[in-house]
């Protein structure tokens, strides 16, 4: 296998491994807040690795640029989505997403 092929295989394998670990983490955690942490690697690390594999194969052609664009969209939108989901979880639990009076008495979090 050529060095390029080897690099592509390694990048793809890493991307798949990161995605699997992320999915397993979401499956094994018990709390929505803990689960949210494990969605980050799948949408911040794996797209970059896979887009890098595409760019190594194709160079900066139409395919390479679009792959980088997809990775950028995933990396940019996931934190927003995570914040919105955690906010929804807190509002369901406490009625507000800012710090509650009980938490302030405990010393805050």
């Amino acid at each position: 296998m050529s060095p390029t092929g080897l690099a592509v295989a390694a990048l793809l394998a890493l991307g798949v491994a990161v995605t699997w670990l992320s999915c397993l983490g979401v499956l094994l955690m018990r709390d929505p807040y803990d689960r949210l942490h494990y969605t980050a690697p799948a949408s911040a690390v794996a797209p970059v690795l896979i887009a890098a594999a595409v760019v190594v194969t194709e160079g900066l052609s139409a395919a390479g640029i679009k792959a980088l664009l997809v990775a950028f969209v995933l990396v940019a939108t996931n934190p927003v989505l995570g914040h919105a989901t955690a906010r929804a979880a807190r509002i369901r639990e406490h009625g507000q997403w800012t710090i509650t009076d009980a938490e302030r008495k405990e010393g805050g979090r």
Binding site: L27, P32, A42, I50, A84
Partner: protein
């Protein structure tokens, strides 16, 4: 069957834990499973576009990335108060 097809099949296996999370737990846990499934689907489309060697197929992955983000935001907004 090249390495891209193998990677797409391997990524598809990651949807099983997402499906299990969507079947169990509270509404917010299910939403998180759905969001992760959207991300994994985007990656599958990205790898498949390269497997089929068609530059136009990358647009599908881009559309799914943007739409799953918008869908997740709408679900989160509704879960805040109404559902």
């Amino acid at each position: 069957m090249n390495q891209w097809t193998v990677a797409a099949l391997a990524l598809l296996a990651g949807l099983v834990p997402c499906g299990v999370v969507c079947l169990r737990g509270g509404p917010v846990d299910r939403l998180i499973g759905l969001e992760l499934a959207g991300t994994v689907d985007t990656l599958v489309l990205l790898v498949l576009a390269q497997a089929y060697d068609r530059a136009i197929y990358f647009d599908l992955a881009l559309a799914l990335a943007l739409l799953s983000f918008a869908g997740g935001l709408v679900f989160a907004r509704f879960l805040e108060r109404w559902i």
